[in-house]
């Protein structure tokens, strides 16, 4: 599809299939039409209903302000698509340029976009996961069920996993006055994403809001009663807690199984692609017609030494969707790279937490502005003497400044004097817990957050 003539024809009456009808899929479809693509557009999704927004599910929906089915995404324009919903894609035939659906249908395409995202990692013991009162939070139905359960005023809510989702849900439950226990395998909440220093702040914040926070423990068993309702959880330290509701917040699994035999470079890490969202095949060759966007994509970021990074960030899904859509309908010379600095936000315990850059790509961290005890500060992250990320607690207006420091590879600790600088701003080691501790059920994990120490470690499962 290289000649200008072929591309013109494709833009006029080519066939595009988008697999995954969520934020990235919808935004890509809108961007394709916005770029002037007038051919046929097919949207494939395993859930019924229009694409919806997920961040409110662990916030506005759980507080009871917004019903779970009230988060349908707004449209910027009509996309005139054929929607194939309620049936998942089941395979990709690269030789025939067809997507296979679970019901046996085959959907032909000229170019396709993979935007299948991630799903919630379920509780590993099926019988325990099936207990009444055990939830994950990923879909509208998940959020609706959990909202009903916490509105009923359970005696205690157990949150398993203190990452961003688990911490946000703990926060909402405390706002509603519910007793909450949080069980985290790592040494502190948020520690896997933001390191030990912020983890300590997050732990203090949870305890100050009355959360029964238990770190360094694993939930070993969920116990139900004769009616199949959750009653109790058992911990690896021998402790137990009685709870009627448990929220399993152990992160996500990338939806790549359907691509297993496709010949693309896919695995637990996602679908590998170039900075222009074009998928790699198993040999590491870039494909011409298969594109990837959103949580399921794993692409090299030139700002971080071309390391392959996958991000489960809202803004990343939007940006990659727009890059992928543009590149799908553009000539080689007119393609765009996805060069943006990652950014995410979280709202918990009344604090606005925002981040730019890749905090795990760091060896040192320093409080660059404000005061940790006031929960109003910016922490800057550095790797080998340059700024690589920043995290703000109720101080987001400064993040653009740090974004520019990251983009220009400014020296770490940050050089420019900024207002509100703490007197004793000394960098400390960033100290992420080893992923061998946090990874549950992985076969291999990449160990060492210092890029010079990154190795693959085989995980042996003991049963």
């Amino acid at each position: 599809m290289s000649s200008a003539h072929t591309l013109r024809r494709f833009r006029r009456d080519g066939r595009v299939v988008i697999v995954g009808a969520s934020l990235a899929g919808l935004r890509a479809a809108e961007a394709l039409r916005g770029e002037g693509f007038t051919g046929s557009l097919t949207m494939i999704g395993d859930e019924l209903g229009e694409p919806y927004d997920r961040p409110p599910l662990s916030k506005q929906v759980l507080t009871g302000w917004v019903p779970a089915d009230g988060t349908t995404l707004p449209r910027r324009r009509g996309i005139d698509a054929e929607w194939l919903l309620g049936v998942p894609a089941d395979g990709l035939d690269l030789a025939a340029d067809q997507v296979r659906l679970a019901d046996g249908r085959r959907i032909p395409f000229d170019r396709m976009l993979i935007a299948t995202g991630v799903r919630a990692r379920p509780w590993p013991v099926e019988a325990e996961a099936a207990l009444d009162g055990v939830f994950v939070v990923r879909t509208r139905e998940d959020a609706a069920g959990l909202q009903r359960a916490i509105a009923a005023g359970p005696s205690r809510v157990l949150i398993i996993g203190a990452g961003f989702t688990g911490s946000e849900i703990a926060s909402v439950c405390r706002e509603r006055g519910l007793p909450v226990t949080v069980a985290e395998l790592g040494p502190a909440p948020l520690v896997g994403g933001l390191g030990a220093m912020i983890g300590e702040v997050a732990a203090d914040m949870q305890r100050a809001h009355g959360v029964d926070l238990r770190c360094g423990v694993k939930v070993t068993r969920l116990e139900g009663d004769a009616q199949g309702r959750l009653r109790r959880a058992h911990f690896s330290d021998g402790g137990t807690v009685d709870a009627e509701v448990a929220v399993v917040a152990l992160g996500g699994i990338r939806n790549t199984e359907w691509l297993r035999d496709s010949g693309l470079a896919v695995g637990v890490w996602g679908v590998a692609c170039d900075a222009g969202c074009r998928a790699f095949d198993l040999n590491g060759l870039v494909t011409d017609d298969i594109f990837v966007a959103g949580d399921v994509a794993r692409s090299p970021n030139p700002i971080y030494e071309y390391r392959f990074i996958s991000l489960e960030h809202w803004a990343n899904a939007v940006e990659q969707a727009e890059i992928a859509a543009h590149n799908m309908v553009s000539t080689q010379a007119d393609r765009w790279p996805h060069l943006s600095i990652p950014a995410f936000w979280s709202i918990q315990f009344g604090v606005n937490i925002k981040s730019v850059g890749v905090p795990t790509y760091a060896d040192e961290v320093v409080v660059a502005q404000g005061s940790v005890s006031d929960r109003r500060f910016v922490a800057a992250y550095g790797y080998q003497g340059r700024v690589t990320a920043a995290v703000s607690f109720n101080n987001a207006k400064w993040l653009d400044h740090y974004r520019r420091l990251i983009e220009t590879a400014a020296p770490f600790p940050p050089p420019c004097p900024t207002p509100d600088q703490p007197a004793d701003a000394k960098p400390v080691p960033v100290d992420f817990p080893g992923p061998t501790l946090l990874a549950q059920g992985a076969t291999v994990v990449v160990t060492g957050h210092d890029p010079g120490e990154r190795r693959v470690t085989v995980m042996r499962q003991h049963r």
Binding site: G45, Q60, W65, R75, G78, L84, G86, V87, W314, N394
Partner: protein, 75 residues
């Protein structure tokens, strides 16, 4: 009507919460919470709030942009 706010962009200026307080609220000092599906009666207010956002982080749907899926479940 449907609303989404790009909270990566939002910097907590609270113009929206001032202009359409039923749809946008500040949570704590600088975090924004919003109703993704406010009542159609609030459309004027919400559009004004979206126009006033210094970061242009608020997206409101265009009614003519609706393209409801007519997908069917095979089961």
């Amino acid at each position: 009507m449907r609303v989404v706010v790009d909270l990566s962009r939002c910097q907590g200026y609270a113009q929206c919460a001032f202009l359409a307080p039923d749809a946008f609220r500040m949570h704590g000092e600088e975090a924004l919470m919003y109703a993704p599906n406010p009542d159609d009666a609030q459309r004027e207010q919400v559009l004004r709030a979206a126009a006033a956002c210094p970061l242009q982080a608020i997206l409101v749907d265009r009614p003519e942009g609706r393209d409801a899926p007519v997908g069917t479940s095979p089961s």
